[in-house]
Symmetry: C2
Amino acid sequence: MELRYKVWLESDGETVFGDGLSRLLSGIAQQGSISRAAFSMKLSYREAWGRIKRAEESLGVKLLIKQVGGEEGGGARLTPEAERLLDQYRKFRTEVEAAMAKIFNDNFEAH
Amino acid sequence: MELRYKVWLESDGETVFGDGLSRLLSGIAQQGSISRAAFSMKLSYREAWGRIKRAEESLGVKLLIKQVGGEEGGGARLTPEAERLLDQYRKFRTEVEAAMAKIFNDNFEAH
C-alpha cells in the first residue's frame, strides 16, 4: 500500500494556500514573470493570475509586485508578505511530508 | 487560516482504504448489517457493497462475513483481517490528526 494525501489551507471555506499556489509563487520568484511561471505549470496566464487574485483577496495581502515595461515588457516579483508566506508554507509542507511518511511507515510498513 | 487535508491508501493506483471505508466498516461492525451502515452514511446498499468488493479485490482479502437468514434476513460482520486493518487504520488516522494539528499550529498559529 502507498500513502496518498492532499493538504491545503482555507479561510472562510475558500482555499487560500496549497501546493499549486506554492509552485506558482516559486515559479514567479524564479522566473520573474507570471506568464513564464504559468506556462511551466501548464496554466494559462489568466488561470494563474486568477489564482493569485483570489488568494490575495482571501488573505487580505498583496502577493505580487507587477513591473511595467523593461526589456521583456514587464515582469512580476513577490511582495515581502508573499515571500514570508511561501517560506512558512514550505517549512510546513516539509514537516507534513516527514511526519506522514513516518506515521505511515510505523503503522503499515514496519511489520 | 484553517488546515484541511485528505488522506487515503492506494495500491496500484486504486484507493484501498480511507475514511469512507473506515466509517463503513465501523458501521457494519456496530450495526451488524451492510444496509443499515450504508443508510447511516447516505449510501445505497449497492454503493456500500461496491466499495467493499473493490477494497477486497485490491487488498486481496475478504472483509466481510455475510450471514444468511435469521431474525432480520441476515447480516454481516467483519472478518478478523478487516478488524485488524480497521484498527491499524484508526491508529494511523489518530496519529495523522495529531501530527497535522501540531505542525499547522507550530507554523501558522504559534506567532
